[in-house]
Structure formats: structure tokens, C-alpha cells
């Protein structure tokens, strides 16, 4: 079968803050980029737009970030034909200079000269008892339900997290009129206090975070820090949430839904298939594709921007998107505004300081991994338990993640390791007495998301 593949000079994958700013900068530089995005409308996740029919005012949806959201959403309408925009299109493979896409019309291919991957992030998941029950969603999922659909995930919602997303979602739910059973942070309050000075490197964001927390307290929400041993109660669906406080005392609340996840995790499948070199980041416990300060990956012609190559947040994503576009144009020997590049670099360096403080304020909750019991489901798609993982590691000589996958099926399900890969690596490392970096990472295979055997979506 002959596949005719069109060729484009510059392609951007992802229409979140990084991808939108990248496309905009490329247009400014005189290029007509292709911008490919899975969703119906641009904005990514943090600036996700509700479908037509579920629209609400920007201030309601995005709060303090309304202005940023509106500005980003205005980019595509403003640039219109200057961008070859392809929504509802999944890039499911990268090989050499070729992308494989699945859009509303079916399968297609696109060759590129230069590629910016702005694939974003998803929640970082750690299993806990009951985490697969109907009614348990990620914290990000709880936020999306509200933002994109105007619904709460339940009538009485408990929220659990290990990052700044927690006070934000709690605030958003409370303001929207949801009933909140509890807001539980599995990291210590002391870490936030200790790192507050560092977080003033981005004073505005820091102030907003404080404001959310204060609002939550004023609203009378049950806020707890240093929470451990969380457990979703219920047989066929969530009916409550139990936990232990830092002193070990047991608590519980009634609830019918839980939004729980612990930080964010970069979506790196396309960078992997593109052949980018990865390095292990000890702070976030994740393998991240390497990039230089301007966003160049280890593969000539491939650039990385936004949360997809290390979580930095939406503001950083915008800066990185624009900066990667400048690097791309520079590499094409097109003139760029070097002053602007310098400004971006400076702002990014400043953001990096803030980011380090943020990561320290919500340190990696290793105690949740330590608490994983043998009967806990680790791979949600295939139903594989911690007991199987541990026994396999010990008895069948699985020294690294791909062997573990071959022997246990962990990572072989529909999500291809997105949800379970992180926890599985932590558990494997602990079982073998190794550093997490030493057990490696799951090798990517196309398609990065399911595609229909029958060809049409």
C-alpha cells in the first residue's frame, strides 16, 4: 500500500499553552506551522475549553488565570489561515521525520522538517486501597469535570493531593457550590512553610496559592496536611475516605467521590518514539526527555516544550513554547529576535528557581509507596497486584521494567503504562533494593493511544 505523505516545514504537536505560543511565534517568524491537537478546541488541560453548549464565562472557569486563558484561546482565531490547525487528530507514532495521525477522516501521515512536541502532562498516580472503585478520579479529572462540564464528580467530594493543584481544585469546587468532605495533603505543612521564601521567586503565583488556601480555610473546609494511609471505602462504589494523620490517628469522612493524585507526570511517549535521549530526574522520580535551555532535544530537528518534557506549569509552558520556536527558526537560519530569546531565558531561569521551591514544598510522597500492600492493584488495566510484581521481581529475575512487563503484563493494557508505570518502577526498585533509576523505563511502542482496527475513529 502506497501512502502519500505531505511534508511540512514546522509541525507542533499539542495546542496547550506551549504549543499555542510556539505556533504563534513561528507565524511571527514567517512560517506556516501545522498545529495538531487531539481535542476539539485548543487550550490543553489547564486552559481546557468546555464543548460548545457547556460554555461558561472565563472568569468562572479559570479564576485568576482568566486573562491568560482568554489570550491563549484568542491565538488561533486571530491567526486563522496563518496556521494549518488540525484538531481532533491524534499523532500516534513518530518515526524518523514522519508522523502517523488519526483524524476525523481516518489515518494519515505527515513528514516534517522540524517538530515541536508539546504533549503536556497527566496526573501522577499512586495506588491506594480502593483506588479503582467507581467514584475515584484523579485530582486533575475532578478539575476537568468541573471546568469542562460544570459537574462535580459527586455530591460530597473528598480531595487528596500532593501539589498546588489540591488547594486550587478545592477552591474551585467550593466556589462552584460543591460539598467538600475533606481536603487532604499527603505532604507536610512544614515543607510549604520552609519553602515559602523560595516560592516568592514567582510572587504572583505564590500569592494566588496562599489565597486559595486561605479561602479554603475561611470556607470551613476540612484541611489536613501530612496525611498518610489513605483508603477509599466502599464495595461497588465510593462511600467514604479514611486516613491517618501525622500522629497515626485514624480518621474518616463520608463521601461519594474522591479526586486523588499526587503531582503531575510528563507525557513522553512521542519524544520516546522520536528517539530522544532521556534522563532520570531524581526530584520528580521520572524519566524525562533531555532538552537544552532553548528546548532542543537530543534529536536534531525535534524540540520539546511545556509539561511534556518536565513539569513546569502553564506559565513556564508558554515561555518554553515560544523559546523552542525561536530555537527552531534559528536552526533554520531564519532571523530571530535575540533580545526576546534572552528575555525568555531569563524568565525561565527565574521560573526554575520557583519550580525547585515548589517541588520541595510538596515533596515526593514516598510513604504512599511504602504503604502499598500485596493485594493492591498496581496495573489498573490488567488488574495486576503488588504481590505479583514483588514475587516476579524476586523469583523470575525481572531486574528492569520491560522484563517486569513481559512477565506480569503490567503496562500491557490500554494505557500502556501511563497510569501504572510510575508506581510499578518504585515498587520494583524497592523490591530489588535498587535505585528507581536503575530499573529503567518502559519502552514505547506505537500507537501511543488506541487506534481502531477498522481504520476510522
Amino acid at each position: 500500500m502506497e501512502w502519500v505523505v505531505a511534508e511540512a516545514k514546522a509541525v507542533v504537536i499539542g495546542a496547550g499553552p506551549a504549543g499555542l505560543r510556539a505556533a504563534e511565534a513561528l507565524v511571527r517568524g514567517g512560517l506556516r506551522p501545522v498545529l495538531i491537537d487531539e481535542a476539539e478546541r485548543p487550550g490543553g488541560q489547564i486552559y481546557r475549553q468546555p464543548p460548545a453548549g457547556a460554555a461558561r464565562a472565563a472568569a468562572q472557569l479559570y479564576g485568576f488565570e482568566a486573562k491568560k486563558a482568554v489570550a491563549l484561546h484568542a491565538i488561533l482565531p486571530r491567526l486563522a489561515d496563518a496556521i494549518d490547525y488540525r484538531p481532533r487528530t491524534l499523532v500516534w507514532n513518530v518515526f524518523g521525520n514522519r508522523l502517523d495521525t488519526l483524524g476525523p477522516e481516518g489515518q494519515g501521515g505527515l513528514a516534517f522538517e522540524r517538530l515541536i512536541i508539546a504533549s503536556g502532562a497527566m496526573d501522577r498516580v499512586l495506588p491506594f486501597p480502593g483506588w479503582t472503585l467507581p467514584g475515584v478520579f484523579t485530582l486533575g479529572g475532578a478539575q476537568i469535570a468541573l471546568k469542562a462540564q460544570g459537574v462535580a464528580i459527586g455530591r460530597r467530594v473528598a480531595l487528596v493531593g500532593a501539589g498546588p493543584l489540591l488547594p486550587l481544585v478545592a477552591h474551585q469546587y467550593a466556589r462552584a457550590g460543591a460539598t467538600i468532605a475533606a481536603v487532604l495533603d499527603v505532604t507536610p505543612l512544614a515543607a510549604k512553610v520552609a519553602n515559602a521564601p523560595g516560592m516568592t521567586a514567582d510572587a504572583a503565583t505564590f500569592a494566588k496559592g496562599l489565597w486559595y488556601t486561605l479561602q479554603n480555610a475561611i470556607a470551613g473546609l476540612t484541611l489536613r496536611f501530612g496525611v498518610r494511609a489513605i483508603r477509599a471505602e466502599g464495595e461497588r462504589r465510593v462511600v467514604g475516605l479514611a486516613w491517618r494523620d501525622a500522629a497515626g490517628r485514624a480518621h474518616r469522612v463520608d463521601c461519594d467521590a474522591i479526586g486523588a493524585s499526587f503531582g503531575l507526570r510528563s507525557e513522553t511517549q512521542l519524544a520516546d518514539l522520536a528517539g530522544c535521549a532521556f534522563a532520570f530526574d531524581a526530584v520528580t522520580h521520572q524519566w524525562i526527555p533531555q532538552r537544552d535551555a532553548a528546548g532542543r532535544s537530543s534529536v536534531p530537528g525535534v524540540y520539546l516544550a511545556g509539561d511534556g518534557a518536565g513539569v513546569g506549569g502553564a506559565d513556564v509552558a508558554e515561555l518554553q513554547g515560544e523559546r523552542a520556536a525561536l530555537a527552531l527558526m534559528q536552526d533554520l537560519r531564519l532571523p530571530i529576535d535575540t533580545g526576546r530569546a534572552t528575555t525568555l531565558d531569563r524568565r525561565l531561569a527565574r521560573q526554575a528557581r520557583f519550580r525547585r521551591a515548589l517541588e520541595a514544598a510538596w515533596p515526593y510522597p514516598g510513604h504512599l509507596v511504602d504503604a502499598i500492600a500485596d493485594d493492591e492493584i498496581i496495573c489498573r488495566c490488567e488488574g495486576v497486584t503488588a504481590a505479583t510484581l514483588r514475587a516476579t521481581a524476586r523469583e523470575r529475575d525481572a531486574q528492569e521494567m520491560n522484563r517486569l512487563k513481559a512477565f506480569t503484563r503490567i503496562g500491557m493494557g490500554r494505557c500502556q503504562g501511563r497510569v501504572c508505570g510510575h508506581a510499578a518502577a518504585e515498587l520494583l526498585a524497592r523490591t530489588l533494593g535498587k535505585d528507581v533509576a536503575a530499573v529503567g523505563r518502559l519502552r514505547g511502542n506505537p500507537p501511543i493511544k488506541p487506534i481502531p482496527v477498522g481504520g476510522l475513529p
Binding site: 518515526f95 523470575r396 500502556q416 511502542n445 506505537p446 500507537p447 488506541p450 482496527v453 477498522g454 481504520g455
Partner: protein
């Protein structure tokens, strides 16, 4: 710091045949070292379709396949783990009258080797397998054939070999091997092995190894292009193949359907392989053609890997034609998985008894003595 080993038998390659040989050699009380360039069983042994199939083989392979088939029934007990072997039956479909004639001819020939096949007309096939697509005019059923999980068999054999005292060295690619007066010296990364005997089970790299001993073996890379679906309700009760070999399909009880056909992309030098998109999309079209109910199912993963194929699509097995105590076992051309357990025994027999009880003359390396490149090299392999 190079580890130095001195053993009776050094084996280059750590796939199923190599590790099965190591087990058998240990049983004969010979010392063995296996040198595997990556992880045991992760090469061709681990990336193939998983068919445990006698039907459709070149007739010369049938005695070996019959011998292997007997071992498969006992493999869980031998290996101490579940290799998920299921004798689901293998049904080979004809999509034309000419194809049916081919099946009839083969069934007649195979009977002479003790392989009983059941020929079925269009109605019988449709009654037995109502979910098959409309283009089927007939089929040949091998009721004892089936499938297993290729990802676990090789590693299980390696574990057993280690348990029995074989020295297994992974991430130890062999860089050179030479014949000395007393035997062989083989050098791999981090380990150097002196041995009396040497086994070349180096898969896609075996041609290079053969050339070190002045032997011609035109091994070409073969990269199977495989796909797997999400779990679906179980209904594909037989392992499916077609005359022409352009699509093969099986479903495991957990529900995933594994299918393939055609070749992916490969770089033999670097040992890299990737599925090829146009090949994958073509296989998807043919899968729906054969099993229309797959239309709504989702493919969740695809892969490829590096196997070695010979121009006549049957392996090289047997003693070297130039060098004493060098044994070859490679070039399984995309269908070595089912044979593996028997090949291990044959390799061991050649060492311990000087000959095999199985008829391996057709697989002699000498048949390529005068081979000139540029012959069949570009032709696609028929997965009969």
C-alpha cells in the same frame, strides 16, 4: 575486568534453542556458558507471533516440528512455569480455489510425516467458525497445533539452565571467536570463554559468526510486524493463518487478539526494529477482512524484532563444514518458536553423540557454499 571462563560448550546467543541446549547439555554433565548480547529470549524468540504450529512447514521441518510438539505438552512441568500453551488448533484458510488446492496437496504430503490435517469446505468452515469473513472457500485444520506466550518461554529456559548450573551472561555481545588447537576462544564484552565446543545460535547475527570460520551463510534480517488489540470477549477459538501468509491471527483467553503479516523496519547493524506503519495498516485491513467483528476493536500496541532468514526459508542446523566441534543452529526464518525445544535437544545430541536422531541433512550449512548475493534477498518470506 574481564571474566575468564573455561567450559565444555560455549553458546553464542541466548534464545529458546540456545537455552534449551544449555539445559540438555547440563543434563549430560557438560559445563556450559551462554553468551547473550541483550536479554535471554528477548530476540526473535520473544517478539514472534507465538504460533506453535506444524501445519504449513516445509516438509523437511516436519520431523523436527513433530518432535517439538511432543515436548510442548510437557513444557510447563519442565520449565516450572506456565507458558500459556494452548492446543487451540491451527486453521489455515484458503481464499481461492487455487489456495484450496494447495492445502489439499500439503495435507497429502504431510500425512507421510505423521501430521494429520482435516480439510474443510466452505460450509464446514462457516459452521465451525461463523465469525469468519466472507472470502473463505475452505480450510485445513491442524487440531494439535496452537499458540503460546513467546515473551516468557525463552526467559524460562534461561532460568532453568541457570538453575541447572549453566553460566549465563547477558548484555555480553560476542565480538570474536576463533578455533584453537584445543577448541575455541570466544570474546564477548566483559567475558572471555575457552571451550571445547562452540554453538552458533546467534540469530540474525549468525551469518557473521559463520563467516569467522570461513563458512557462507546468507542470513538476512527478518522483522515481523506484530499488533495486539485491547481485550475483547473471547471468540476466536482457533489460531488463524491463510494461504499466502499475509495475515495470521490468534486470540488469548484474556481477550487480546494478536495479529501480524508483512515486515517492519530493521537495522541489522544496530539490532533495531520498528513496526512499519503502512504494513500495520495493511494488516489491520486484512484482519478485518478475515474477522469482521474486529472492526470496532482498538489496536493498543505494535512491535517488531530481529529474526534471521535464509534464502530457502529453512534454517541452518548441524555441524560446521569447515571447523570441528562447531555446531550451527540459526536462520529460523520467522518460524523457529515452535521448534525451539527440539532444536535444543538436537544441538545437545550433536555434541554428546556426534549425530542427531532427527533428520537434519536438509539443513546443512554447506548448501550455501557457493551462494552468490543478489539472489532472493529482496523477496518477502512466505509464512506458510
Amino acid at each position: 575486568m574481564t571474566e575468564r571462563l573455561d567450559v565444555d560448550v560455549a553458546i553464542i546467543g541466548g534464545g529458546i534453542a540456545a537455552c534449551a541446549a544449555a539445559v540438555a547439555l547440563r543434563e549430560a554433565n557438560l559445563t556450559v556458558a551462554v553468551l547473550e548480547k541483550r536479554l535471554c529470549g528477548a530476540g526473535a524468540s520473544g517478539v514472534n507471533f507465538g504460533g506453535v504450529r506444524q501445519q504449513g512447514r516445509h516438509l523437511a521441518e516436519l520431523p523436527l516440528a513433530r518432535r517439538a510438539r511432543a515436548l510442548w505438552d510437557d513444557l510447563n512441568r519442565i520449565l516450572g512455569e506456565d507458558v500459556e500453551f494452548e492446543a487451540s488448533g491451527h486453521i489455515k484458510l484458503a481464499r481461492s480455489e487455487a489456495g484450496m488446492a494447495e492445502l489439499e496437496r500439503y495435507a497429502q504430503d504431510a500425512r507421510g510425516y505423521g501430521l494429520e490435517l482435516t480439510l474443510m469446505g466452505a460450509n464446514a468452515v462457516r459452521d465451525a467458525l461463523p465469525w469468519l469473513g466472507p472470502r473463505v472457500v475452505g480450510a485445513s485444520l491442524a487440531p494439535e497445533d496452537g499458540h503460546a506466550n513467546p515473551r516468557v518461554v525463552g526467559p524460562a529456559y534461561a532460568r532453568l539452565a541457570r538453575h541447572r548450573g549453566a553460566i549465563i551472561r547477558e548484555f555480553s555481545p560476542v565480538r570474536r571467536a576463533v578455533a584453537t588447537g584445543a577448541g575455541f576462544e570466544t570474546e564477548a564484552d566483559g567475558v572471555s570463554v575457552k571451550s571445547r565446543w562452540l554453538v552458533n545460535a546467534a540469530g540474525a547475527g549468525a551469518g557473521a559468526v559463520a563467516s569467522w570460520f570461513g563458512e557462507r551463510a546468507p542470513v538476512a534480517p527478518l522483522t515481523p510486524n506484530m499488533l495486539v488489540t485491547e481485550p475483547l470477549p473471547y471468540f476466536v477459538s482457533r489460531s488463524i493463518g491463510v494461504v499466502g501468509g499475509d495475515i495470521y491471527l490468534r486470540q488469548i483467553h484474556r481477550g487480546n487478539v494478536i495479529f501480524g503479516g508483512g515486515h517492519g523496519w530493521g537495522d541489522a547493524e544496530r539490532g533495531l526494529a520498528r513496526p512499519a506503519t503502512d504494513v500495520s495498516l495493511g494488516a489491520m485491513v486484512r484482519a478485518v477482512d478475515i474477522v469482521p467483528a474486529l472492526k470496532g476493536a482498538q489496536v493498543i500496541r505494535s512491535w517488531s524484532g530481529m529474526d534471521g532468514q535464509m534464502p530457502d526459508h529453512i534454517p541452518v542446523i548441524g555441524a560446521s563444514s569447515t571447523t570441528a566441534r562447531l555446531i550451527h543452529a540459526f536462520g529460523f526464518s520467522g518460524h523457529g518458536f515452535q521448534l525451539g525445544p527440539a532444536i535444543g535437544l538436537i544441538i545437545a545430541e550433536l555434541i554428546t553423540a556426534g549425530a542427531s536422531t532427527s533428520p537434519i541433512a536438509p539443513f546443512a550449512i554447506a548448501r550455501f557454499k557457493d551462494w552468490v548475493d543478489g539472489g532472493d534477498a529482496g523477496q518477502p518470506v512466505q509464512m506458510d
